[in-house]
Subunit: 368 residues, 2 copies
């Protein structure tokens, strides 16, 4: 349910906020202390457009935490159980950040810019302070900063065509989760094949407000023949595709196994990360709950704005963390943390929604 947001300098504007306002953004969230659009026309209209055409997304709230210097690679590795030792320059890597207790801190995409330079393209927590605290405490030799970079995403099945119209056909050759430095009107610009949807597309990393606006306008113009529209990470599309959201689906009290991120935990490799002891213990003990999908019966519910308790055989067995009506599946779908007795697909549970109890069935993720 949207409520009113009073903006101030603390809810920072991106390079593109004036553009998304002119295009009729209808709701924001606050993400890394910035305004992040979450809806233009309606969740469902935005969704249908995204999966059919192409959208321009102001994702300036995806801040970059830069690690630069002699110990940059060492600190990046300390922060994640994912093996970064073979990360190539030009590679993007999804990497859970895990603290010494084994708990999730964030789940950025790591961009390796150089042997001694990384960007962590972060979800909503102050990784800047986390990395700075670690660097100071460990006496590491690097600079940690948040350069003012506002990513701009082009997402949807026609993203390649729009990008090629602005950057040339070279952009089509960029592989998934790789980036290249291209030129836009003489200005070097990092362009990655990535983005927070399953529809394909790119993220560009403008580091200058004027260049960012020029880029927005150029992509907008180039996108007209392809039906480009304003968009943003879409709640329906991202739950269908099981793109997990830190702070919604993944909480600081979770470990990465509970979040289904086992494949990014390289306990068997000779790498130094601060969560090693905690994750080895957690792996040995096994987990008792896990992120799962739910299909919730009955008519459309509003999106979940707070945890919805999940019951099984009369006792509490978990909670819904995100939920939305899926027009494609014609049911409510949810991402939930579910106890082991009920996590097998097909288990029958009951969800306490704000509108009353509803039957639900545990499902594998992603939904589609």
């Amino acid at each position: 349910m949207p409520v009113s947001l009073a903006t101030s300098r603390r809810t920072r504007r991106s390079f593109y906020t004036a553009r998304v306002e002119a295009l009729g953004v209808s709701a924001y969230t606050v993400y890394n202390h910035m305004l992040l659009p979450v809806c233009f026309r309606s969740l469902e209209e935005d969704y249908r457009h995204l999966v059919s055409h192409v959208q321009l997304w102001d994702v300036g709230g995806e801040r970059q935490v830069e690690l630069r210097g002699t110990d940059a690679a060492r600190l990046a590795q300390l922060m994640t159980p994912r093996d970064l030792s073979s990360a190539a320059i030009g590679q993007c890597l999804y990497a859970p950040l895990v603290d010494a207790g084994g708990f999730m801190v964030n789940d950025p995409v790591v961009l390796r810019l150089a042997a001694d330079r990384f960007w962590l393209s972060i979800a909503d927590s102050d990784v800047l302070l986390w990395a700075k605290g670690l660097a100071y405490g460990l006496g590491l030799d690097l600079a940690v900063s948040e350069p003012d970079i506002c990513p701009l995403a082009v997402q949807g099945p026609k993203a390649d065509d729009v990008m090629a119209a602005v950057f040339g056909d070279a952009v089509r050759a960029i592989r998934f989760f790789r980036f290249e430095t291209l030129r836009f009107r003489g200005h070097p610009l990092i362009v990655a094949r990535s983005g927070w949807s399953k529809q394909g597309g790119f993220e560009t990393y403008a580091d200058d407000p004027a260049v960012g606006l020029e880029l927005w306008d150029a992509l907008w113009e180039a996108g007209q023949p392809f039906g480009i529209g304003p968009g943003c990470p879409n709640l329906i599309e991202r739950i269908e595709g099981a793109l997990l959201s830190y702070g919604n689906d993944i909480l600081h009290g979770d470990n990465p196994f509970e979040c289904g991120l086992d494949r990014f935990c390289h306990l068997d490799r000779p790498i130094a990360f601060m969560a090693r002891a905690a994750l080895e213990t957690a792996a040995a003990q096994g987990i008792t709950r896990r992120i799962r999908g739910l299909r919730i019966g009955g008519p459309a519910t509003p999106p979940a704005a707070e945890p919805w308790p999940v019951h099984g055989q009369g006792r509490r067995v978990g909670e819904v963390r995100s939920a939305v009506w899926s027009p494609r599946l014609a049911t409510n779908i949810a991402i939930a943390m579910i106890g082991r007795d009920f996590w097998p697909a097909g288990s029958r549970v009951e969800v306490e929604t704000p509108g009353g109890a509803r039957p639900a069935i545990v499902a594998d993720l992603p939904f589609v």
Copy 2:
């Protein structure tokens, strides 16, 4: 200008959110990943009520970062240039947190609960991650956590009467920036004479949702004879009183001298804090800009939702960080960062507001 906020679990609800919704909250901000009310009727109506009567404030977004253990006092001191060595148990201390570069990280009120236990009642940045990073890196022996405590504030000239009706007259004896553990229906509850207004009052620290709701209801009931109403930190009152807001007025790129926090920087005392070298250098070099007040001419402007450039003699000399119309002073007032050539009170400058350039005069803080 209010826009629409889409809520989700990531914009966490406090113990009291259902109550403030029932009482007609008209706008929120997001503060420490939580919903924080910022307006009920209008900024001006809320203001007039606050300075005349008494209000109940859901300030659950003021999260507590707890430092507990052998090295708790050592870490707390490392994080701030304010001397905490003589902090008494039961004392609240406003303490800028400053990093090794001399830059502001947050400006919490520190509550000393025991020799080895502190709460940092924080402004809007993830001090939890900052403190955890430092503790891990330095190998300190303590636990850093964010207990689920939702402060509830009673603010306004009649706050003592309302609190006494619930807690007894003992509450009247609590001194400014001191706290005591009182009993509320058998439940121990920390009660401090503090709060983010200049109107006087208390903050209570409920650590249980059910107790919190009972407390809200008891205070609401007790407040009826005193004209209690729902309220929240008020933009007009806090700018008039120069209560600085981290993220608005104080930025991570500022040092504490620029923010006028010199009196909390105890460089002359034999205490160990991480910013010492940086602040000694900054103190020796002197500052070239400083937070100042501005009276901005012309009719009422909307509150500043982004930095407004300040010009003096044709060149840029600073920026407005917060601004609002003050009904009491019958002028627009602002908190601004101003270069040294123009910081003397009475200096004439020009402010670029969204509605056009306006003349302004530099003023001392607070305004009233």
